[in-house]
């Protein structure tokens, strides 16, 4: 699966839950939202090998 966050991209092999994929690329699940095909995903959803997931940062300054 492909994980996209800002200008970074990762390819992960095999299936895994959203939460595990976020941790695997070194991010804190709490700080991002996962979107697949324009739809928001909860962190227990299992992602397939050919999924593309965009992670949206929720933290802003100020």
């Amino acid at each position: 699966m492909k994980i996209i966050y800002r200008d970074q991209e990762w390819e992960l092999e095999g299936r895994r839950r959203v939460r595990d994929a976020i941790k695997e690329v070194g991010l804190i699940p709490q700080t991002v939202l996962a979107v697949r095909d324009g739809k928001l995903l909860t962190e227990d959803v299992t992602l397939d090998e050919d999924d593309e997931v965009r992670l949206i940062a929720v933290i802003s300054g100020g």
């Binding site: 804190i28 709490q30 928001l40 909860t42 929720v58 933290i59």
Partner: protein, 304 residues
């Protein structure tokens, strides 16, 4: 995971509330919770005119959207600071705000262009004054507070609403506790009452929402917001505190919420009453806005 209300697939889960909701019920819940906070903290009523300070980010645009949906008389204020870095931050955020307003016939927007009104952009002022060279965000905060207060007062608004969320509030609280800034701790609240006729009433209707909740609302309702950060905020202490708090939240869901609600409870019980004593304020000799030191206020000292 299923929606608590209708058992369709949930799109968003809030571990601290043990609540998962679908794409229909999450926005409904979010709007109802905002209304609850407005009433609980007696922020404003249906007859009040509310000015919403909007930056183009997810929090402030979501706040304006929700207040309009709830039927409040909510106008927007955008301050163009002229932050013109590689991504054209101010131009891009202004465009988001103007698009938002254009799509909503009821939304009235006031834009204050710093360069046009005061002769310099924020980066220009920050480079010129000692305080700005060290801390540009401090000068930015000072300018925004001054302009927001002025427009709220001159526009005859009853209250100024900002999009501060719970993560913003706990990051500030955390910093103030680390440094034992007791006066600041005592003055942090969902509502800052008006003082005399100079300082306007300020409210934070989103103060109980986690940052991911406002982001999810913006995403699910199609609010087009500026995703890029202000270039000045990179490496800011508040972001570091947010990171630390989120790590704790990850291991123990509800940590941020408990920290904030516990603080509000202690505050209500009078824990910080002694520190909350009001400092004496004087009108600025140039603009008339209230300031703690007699003479020119900190805003006017930037320009004169």
């Amino acid at each position: 995971m299923k929606c608590r209300k209708c058992s369709r697939p949930a799109v968003f889960n809030m571990r601290q509330h043990k609540l998962a909701l679908c794409e229909v019920h999450y926005p409904e819940w979010f709007i109802a919770q905002t209304q609850r906070a407005v009433k609980k903290y007696r922020m404003f009523g249906p007859d009040d005119r509310v000015l919403v300070a909007v930056s183009g980010g997810k929090d402030s645009l979501s706040l304006w959207d929700v207040l309009l949906r709830l039927g409040y008389q909510a106008d927007g204020l955008y301050i163009d600071l002229g932050i013109d870095d590689s991504v054209g931050y101010s131009a891009a955020s202004r465009e988001k705000v103007e698009q938002f307003a254009a799509q909503r016939p009821d939304a009235r927007l006031t834009v204050v262009d710093l360069k046009a009104e005061y002769g310099e952009t924020l980066p220009e002022v920050a480079r010129r004054v000692q305080r700005g060279r060290v801390k540009p965000c401090s000068v930015c905060g000072l300018i925004k507070r001054h302009v927001m207060n002025r427009v709220t007062r001159d526009g005859g608004y009853d209250v100024l609403a900002t999009g501060h969320n719970l993560d913003d509030e706990v990051a500030v609280l955390f910093g103030n506790v680390l440094h034992w800034q007791t006066g600041y701790i005592a003055r942090q609240a969902p509502v800052l009452p008006a003082r005399h006729d100079g300082l306007v009433r300020k409210v934070k209707p989103f103060c109980r929402f986690y940052e991911r909740e406002t982001a999810a609302y913006a995403l699910l309702t199609g609010i087009d917001y500026i995703y890029d950060e202000c270039p000045h905020v990179v490496g800011a202490t508040s972001l570091r505190y947010k990171g630390i708090l989120n790590q704790m939240e990850e291991e123990s869901p509800g940590t941020k919420l408990q920290f904030y609600l516990g603080f509000l409870r202690a505050r209500k019980e009078g824990f910080f009453r002694e520190q909350a004593e009001e400092v004496e304020l004087h009108p600025c000799t140039n603009c008339g806005q209230l300031t703690s030191v007699p003479g020119l206020c900190a805003f006017c000292r930037l320009w004169i």
